[in-house]
């Protein structure tokens, strides 16, 4: 295939998901000519979400219609440094997206702001419990940015996403029945909260009785029809439950495709090139300046696209991979403890508890909405005293009934002890489907010196690049946190009058197992911070070493938080874009002296 050189542009953006779409919108508003490169194809709600054929669980959640195909590239995984990693050949533990909209098309819609203490976790822990509280080998870090600085960008993102929720305080005044632990807001949510499904309603009551502080989970699933500040319209959610893994046929789940791209596509400064796989960022001879990117177009031609500014906005580990294969930043060395790219690779710590209620109570688990539900944050972040507990981190606990579909229900089966086949299995499964409530402890995951990303020495992708290697396992700190928080759920299920409860919790010594879905909320690997020795990006998500490369995504999180990452990613994208627009474009160069 030929090598083609395309006309230089102001900005090239790698990835067509939320981060890329937000950056493209912001930078075209600043008059920049933007080319967005997306490795997957175009998507259309009309095609992917054609009702009723689109409500196909087998196609959506088991054949992974809108997820990444692993034939061309994947990652390798091992639990620890002494093992040989093997490729992740079948989607299971985490599900990266592919195609225009990226993970922003297949996500469920939980849209949270980060807990302010999580942004300054290292400083907060040291000031509250002393430096010795941090376990040996834990790379606890601050983000280098405060909630007050990010607040306007959380607000902006919620308005673009059409987020449904209820505030607790606005400008310091208590205004509603929202999360008492949530930080102050400059404005209300653009839409009222979604209605509670039965399970969430019962959970709300029981959690309050148990002394906790329940609130409606903020969700980018529109509770009403909505027009966002860009003029893009959404329909209202009807609780069909086909959110995670699907294009929403009601146009009610926020996605780049519905909320931003329809406006961007009409802008002459913007061009999206689907089926374009970026191979690497090209650097000049000093290795301190990017000249653009090299990608493969849909015909397999190698295309050289030069640009003044390169934005990496691919999925978390793809951003890290691109940095490593392009030679941007110093690769992390876990033995020496030096280097930053690949450092602080983190995940999320989730376990599910099920309570079976009286058969007169119908929880009808097929009803649901991806982001909706009821949560309490009494054991999240620094909302409780960790001193006597001896672990760092926390979990929100919630009923996030996102619509349990038939195959998933069949696989879940009945209460513990129910046979896995036959009529007893069948009646147990039906019992669960109709009368059970599922609650998640959706917890943080700390960063450790020996949990990291690097380039695999053995395996290569279809383009000849080394695969990214994950070295990951669960650590005692996180397991203790999970077991503590899950233990607190017992009081809730008791108040609910559950006839049986299964408290799902992490077990000590149980390794990370890639065969079972956990979450797709991977983070870190190219984190933001104030110290170039421990972070790959400065507080504006600009590479310390190559100042015309910005890397936007959950790769910037130094720790895995108890919350879903999208709200934070969107706010960071708007935050970074704001500083590019107001400072960088006027005087390109490092926004923070290294």
């Amino acid at each position: 295939m030929a090598t083609i050189t395309r006309r230089s542009v102001d900005v090239v953006i790698v990835g067509g998901g939320w981060a890329g779409s937000i950056m493209a919108k912001e930078l075209t508003e600043a008059g920049q000519r933007v080319v967005m490169l997306e490795r997957g194809g175009e998507r259309s709600t009309a095609a992917d979400g054609a009702y009723p054929g689109s409500l196909d669980e087998l196609e959506g959640n088991y054949r992974f219609k809108i997820f990444q195909k692993l034939q061309k590239t994947t990652v390798t995984i091992r639990n620890n440094i002494s093992q040989t990693a093997l490729p992740y050949r079948q989607l299971a533990a985490f599900l990266p997206g592919e195609g225009v909209g990226g993970a922003g098309l297949h996500w469920s819609g939980v849209h949270l702001r980060i807990a302010p203490d999580d942004l300054t976790l290292r400083s907060t822990v040291i000031s509250k419990y002393g430096k010795s509280f941090i376990p040996e080998g834990m790379n606890l870090q601050d983000y280098g940015v405060t909630y007050a600085e990010l607040e306007p960008f959380f607000d902006k993102a919620e308005k673009v996403f059409g987020t449904s929720g209820e505030a607790y305080t606005v400008n310091g005044k208590v205004v509603g029945n929202g999360n008492v632990f949530a930080p102050d807001r400059s404005d209300h949510f653009p839409l009222p909260p979604l209605k509670d499904v039965t399970g969430a309603h019962l959970f709300r009551k029981a959690a309050a009785e148990a002394g906790y502080h329940p609130y409606a989970i903020p969700a980018a699933n529109a509770s009403r029809q909505y027009t966002n500040p860009y003029g893009a319209q959404m329909g209202p959610c009807n609780f069909c439950g086909y959110c995670s893994g699907y294009a929403c046929y009601m146009y009610s789940k926020a996605s780049p495709n519905v909320n931003i791209l329809p406006v961007l596509r009409r802008n002459k400064l913007f061009e999206i090139r689907p089926n374009s796989t970026v191979l690497h960022v090209t650097l000049d001879s000093t290795k301190t300046r990017a000249t653009g990117v090299t990608y493969l177009d849909e015909k397999g031609n190698e295309v050289i696209q030069s640009a003044e500014l390169v934005i990496l906005a691919a999925f978390q580990f793809n951003n890290v991979h691109l940095m490593l294969v392009s030679g941007i930043g110093k690769p992390y060395d876990p033995v020496a403890g030096t280097g930053v790219v690949g450092r602080n690779f983190v995940y999320q710590n989730i376990s599910t508890t099920t309570a079976w209620l009286d058969p007169s109570v119908w929880t009808s688990q097929f009803i649901g909405t991806g982001g909706g539900g009821v949560a309490f944050d009494d054991f999240n972040s620094e909302n409780f005293d960790h001193g006597p507990l001896g672990f760092i981190g926390g979990s929100p606990v919630w009923v996030n009934q996102a619509g349990v579909k038939a195959i998933a229900a069949a696989k879940a089966g009945g209460p513990p002890g129910t046979p896995r086949w036959g009529s007893a299995w069948k009646s147990g499964m039906i019992d669960t489907y109709k009368h059970a409530v599922r609650m998640d402890a959706h917890g943080s995951n700390m960063a450790y010196r020996d949990v990291f990303l690097d380039l695999d020495p053995t395996w290569k992708d279809a383009f000849g690049r080394p695969l990214l290697r994950m070295t990951f396992d669960w650590k005692d700190n996180d397991i203790r946190m999970n077991r503590y928080v899950v233990g607190k759920i017992a009081a809730v299920t008791k108040a609910m009058g559950a006839r049986q409860t299964h408290l799902g919790m992490k077990e000590f010594g149980q390794p990370f197992d890639t065969r079972f879905y956990q979450t797709t909320h991977l983070g870190g690997g190219a984190v933001m911070g104030s110290d170039p020795a421990t972070s790959a990006l400065n507080r504006y998500l600009q590479c310390w070493d190559v100042s015309n490369v910005f890397v936007i995504g959950s790769n910037a999180f130094p720790q895995g938080t108890g919350y879903n990452p999208t709200g934070m990613v969107a706010a960071l994208a708007y935050w970074s874009a704001h500083h590019i627009r107001t400072t960088y474009l006027k005087n390109p160069g490092p926004l923070v002296p290294a």
Binding site: S44, Y51, Q225, G231, L261, P262
Partner: protein
């Protein structure tokens, strides 16, 4: 070199320099004069091009002369007639494949009288009986636009499949003599609002370039519109026959089937965004708003709305539509015994709600919607079978697609659900039979599906 010769040289040099700079000066002055002259001309041309482009939008030339994926105005849009298919022509300024050789007089004749440069008559798919009303100034602006601003394209539209004897064009002359007004007569007919410039403008746009009547006025058996202006009869814009499977509604004051309950603001919003609380554009109107009315000025849209709102109902016997909660309450209580109710709940209610009010402007209401109560159910049946798209507009960039249910619903189910919709929530239109659905389904299969899908 001697002193003298050096001096001479210097003198010579100075002289030459002065001469040159003098010439330069002259040239500069001349050039400046030329520039200002052509500048004024260019400005004039630019003004006319802009105006021509605006008129081309108001006249919706693109609807019939542009095919997505092909050069603008390169023609090729098919028109299915009972005896074959004709294709619209290339109207780009290409000299061999387009209208590049047309003089302005020939251009005007084609538009207003339906006569090609070679003297052959045009099929009345070209709305020259309406364009006959266009002023000389507007024709001039259009001519300047099409000859100087539109990109020439050498694309040739497919040849007509009409065979002899229907391929003979001379009988069209008789049709033209009988039914197409002369420009003089037509232009005079627009002069009836001398003291009301807004009404005059509205009438001109609707009856002239906008050619709304081409779809919204019923046609006689001989295919001419039964009225070309509001002054002629109350049949003007009283609802047309099916066009590509869509039945255009009345744009007159009927309470149920016309614009009786629409305000001027609603009409303006509809023509600007393709969606208002009363309903969303679909079918042929998608294009009319998409490449036409959304680009018109507020003033022009208000003139159109005012003029339309001045047209009294042609059907004067309609009782005003009042919302009736009976069906909504029944469905809310789980009563799906009414014919079609079950299908409605399963297939339609997610977006249009059990109370039929939907979620405008995202999803259009069915309760009280004139399209739903149109005596001819064609549009409704077709939407249920094939689905439809509310297209993106400049000021409303989201496109919404309703999927087609033809593949999963029998003719009887379609008939039942359409009848249910036509008779619920205060709607009072006649039921539809499965036989009628079968006929419409067959017809619908002949028309091309709406592709490509929008990308949101």
């Amino acid at each position: 070199m001697s002193l003298i010769s050096k001096k001479t040289l210097i003198t010579e040099f100075v002289f030459q320099y002065l001469k040159c700079s003098g010439i330069r000066l002259l040239l500069t002055v001349a050039a400046l004069a030329f520039v200002s002259e052509t500048g004024a001309l260019a400005q004039d041309t630019e003004f006319l091009q802009k105006r021509g482009e605006y008129l081309a939008r108001a006249s919706d030339c693109a609807a019939c002369h542009s095919v997505p994926g092909h050069a603008r105005f390169a023609g090729g849009v098919p028109f299915s007639l009972p005896f074959g298919t004709i294709f619209s022509s290339n109207i780009t300024p290409d000299r061999d494949h387009g209208t590049g050789r047309y003089t302005e007089a020939q251009f005007g004749r084609a538009l207003r009288e339906g006569i090609r440069a070679d003297g052959a008559p045009l099929y009345p798919a070209m709305p020259y009986p309406s364009y006959a009303r266009m002023t000389d100034e507007d024709i001039h602006a259009l001519y300047v636009y099409f000859t100087t601003d539109v990109q020439a394209s050498a694309e040739t539209p497919p040849a007509s499949t009409i065979s002899w004897p229907f391929s003979m064009r001379w009988p069209l002359r008789i049709w033209q003599a009988a039914f197409a007004p002369s420009p003089e007569r037509a232009i005079k007919s627009t002069a009836r609002f001398a003291d009301d410039p807004d009404m005059a403008r509205g009438a001109y746009l609707v009856e002239g370039p906008g050619h709304c009547g081409a779809c919204h006025t019923p046609r006689a058996i001989t295919l001419q519109e039964k009225a070309l202006t509001a002054a002629e009869s109350s049949l003007f814009l009283s609802g047309g026959g099916a066009v590509d499977g869509w039945t255009p509604t009345s744009l007159r004051g009927e309470n149920r089937t016309g614009l009786g309950r629409w305000s001027e603001k609603d009409i303006v919003g509809f023509l600007r965004n393709g969606r208002v609380a009363h309903g969303s554009a679909f079918g042929g109107m998608s294009g009319a708003v998409g490449h036409g009315t959304q680009y018109l000025s507020d003033k022009d849209l208000y003139s159109i709305a005012r003029f339309l709102k001045s047209l009294p109902a042609a059907d004067r016997d309609q009782t005003p539509w009042v919302y009736d909660r009976t069906e909504a309450l029944a469905l809310r209580n789980g009563d799906i015994s009414a014919r079609g109710a079950r299908v409605y709940v399963d297939r339609c209610a997610a977006c249009h709600r059990t109370d039929g009010t939907a979620y405008p402007t995202t999803f259009p209401p069915l309760a009280g919607n004139p399209v739903v109560m149109n005596p001819a159910p064609d549009s409704l049946v077709r939407i249920v079978i094939a689905g439809s798209t509310v297209p993106a507009m400049r000021s409303s960039p989201s496109s919404f697609v309703m999927p087609g249910f033809g593949g999963t619903m029998t003719d009887q189910q379609v008939a039942d659900v359409v009848s249910f919709i036509r008779a619920s929530w205060g709607n009072n239109a006649d039921p539809v039979t499965a036989t009628e659905v079968a006929r419409l389904r067959k017809e619908q299969m002949k028309t091309a599906p709406e592709t490509p899908y929008p990308l949101n």
